[in-house]
């Protein structure tokens, strides 16, 4: 099959850029461990309130782990528990969350903390909070009529 000379240049340039781009994304993912949030822990969605750590939602200081704080947050239609979270600036935080009913979102507006909460799964994301201020936590996955009133607040304090 004949390919025009200019088209060969165009494809070579385009495909090389693509490969370079994917190498950067892959390097950042597998070398620096920068993956999107995931979770492999399973939970009975109807017994969330009885199962640790969700029997005690809130901010917990931890020792001897790669992170300083664990933020445990339970979502249900149309609330987050707790309604407010406070962590110190510069600390490394593990967000641990699940839902008691339908699928919800867990998005901290203006940051890249953004996970889907699915019944039966525990979603986790570890990050360093390096911006002070109040960040709105909101549900970004449609969950019903009260979807847009579902909020919490992340306060990063000095």
């Amino acid at each position: 099959m004949h390919i025009h000379k200019y088209e060969k240049w165009w494809l070579t340039f385009g495909i090389s850029s693509l490969v370079l781009f994917l190498v950067i994304v892959g390097f950042s993912a597998f070398h620096y461990g920068s993956h999107p949030p995931t979770g492999k822990v399973y939970i009975d969605p109807e017994r969330v309130d009885e199962i640790a750590p969700f029997n005690n939602p809130g901010v917990h200081k931890v020792e001897g782990k790669e992170w300083d704080y664990e933020v445990v947050l339970v979502a249900s239609a149309f609330f987050y528990n707790p309604p407010e979270i406070e962590v110190p600036l510069g600390s490394t935080v593990k967000f641990i969350s699940t839902t008691k009913d339908v699928v919800h979102g867990f998005q901290v507006a203006g940051t890249n903390i953004n996970m889907i909460l699915e019944p039966g799964y525990v979603s986790e994301y570890v990050t360093t909070v390096d911006k002070a201020g109040e960040f709105l936590i909101l549900c970004n996955e449609y969950c019903g009529v009260g979807h847009s009133s579902m909020t919490s607040m992340l306060k990063v304090v000095e």
Partner: protein
Amino acid sequence: MTTIKEKALGFTIVDRRDGKLALANMYVAFIALFIGGLCGLLQVLVRSGKFTLPWGIGYYQVLTVHGVLLGLILTTYFILGFQIAAMSRTSGTFTDKQRLLGWIGFWVMTIGTVAAATMVLLNEASVLYTFYAPLQAHWIFYVGMALVVVGSWIVGIALFMKYIEWRKANPGQPSPLLSFMVVVNMAMWQICTLGVAVEVVFQLIPWSLGWVDKVDVLLSRTLFWYFGHPLVYFWLLPAYMVWYVVIPKIIGGKIFSDALARLSFMLFLLFSIPVGFHHQLTEPGIQSFWKFLQVVLTMMVVIPSLLTAFSMFASFELRGRQLGAKGLFGWFKKLPWNDARFTVPFIGMAAFVPAGAGGIINASHQMNQLIHNTIWVTGHFHLTVATTVVLTFFGASYWLLPHLTGRVLTKQMNKLAIIQGIVWAVGMTIMSAAMHIVGLMGAPRRSDFSTYGGAAQATDWIPYQIAQAVGGTILFVGIILILYIVVNLLFFAPKGETEFPIGEVSEHAEKSPMWLENWKIWLTICIALILFAYTVPVIEMIQNAPPGSKGYKFW
């Protein structure tokens, strides 16, 4: 068969009986455009915070209508109508049996559409078009959606039969390019809709009828997105058909290369399906490795997109130079800018540049976290499907509808059509830009107006939401304009003959090699890629499944 009169006209006309079937699909498509567009207008108005819906209508009910009618009904009906006409034009008139299948498919789809629409209007199915189990709609909604899919399969079988008939009658010959493209698109559709069919038939229908208590949520979402991304290519490929085959003829030029066009379509077949995880990047229960793998497969569609961009502009430049254009970009001025059949799709092509760039960001593994489920994504697909695809469809309507009705596009209507394209471009630039920016600031998609308890961040979003309403209102004017032109072309335009333009391949292009049409090779690779991308993660999902979810009706 070509009659003497048609030979004298210099082009072939789609048989009237096939045309009627194509037109039936077009009617439904444009009715869906009107109702779905009206819902879109209501949404942007509500989201501005200055307007509330009357008579107890819910925002999410309107959103469901908007998504289902424009994302599924307008697109699927228009595409099937266009493809029926394209097949009939390039591979010959359908046999009575093939046409009957086309009609059966049309009615099955239409019964399904009415059933689903009824449940949405009764507020029994405000689950949006992505279904969102364990939110549970009325079973009739799911059955309706299943019928839409099954109906489209029946139409697909009619198209396949026509193609097979042509191949048998012309052994050793590459099929007509447009017919080949139709078959690639329908093959992709048949393979990808299996996912959503399995979800609806084996998970959602038994569950909504109460035959089973629980549903596996992650599996249902995975099956949906196995279908949900190829769906967007199912919208896009007919636009590419117009660009590759029709536009070169409209500008008076030639198709740059038949072989590269075919290769590009086959690459879309391969890399459209094993990519659904890029819609699920922030979800639990799927290992990062498999997410990344599907990210890489997603990005492979950059290659056929590069091929397409090159071919388009090569056709344009060659034609411009033929008309005596000088300098590096002089050919650009020589293009037929006063012809809506060219200009309107061209605006769509231009929109695909930022649309494609945004798409790369969306699918980029960790970068997705910043924009996932924000209204940035809504801004993105209003550029892809609601500008690139839809403007190409509008541009195609300006010759396809009069061709089928035996009328002509008048000069006035042509002018109005260009104005329509400009109105659309202006409205979409405002709305989509506002959505992109406010999405980066964190504003969510699929959400009613909310002040989020007076949060400072949410207050900053409101000016952009007003901009969305301004853009959306301009777009609705665009919908009124296109509907005015469509009604004119269907019922009032002067009688006459309009060409269904089919480009010829450039005399410099070589004959296409037959391996490009060897379905055994391509379907084998296609299925192998799907199995590679999905087998392990789906087995893990099923083996490690948590207790299922009962249904909820939270609206």
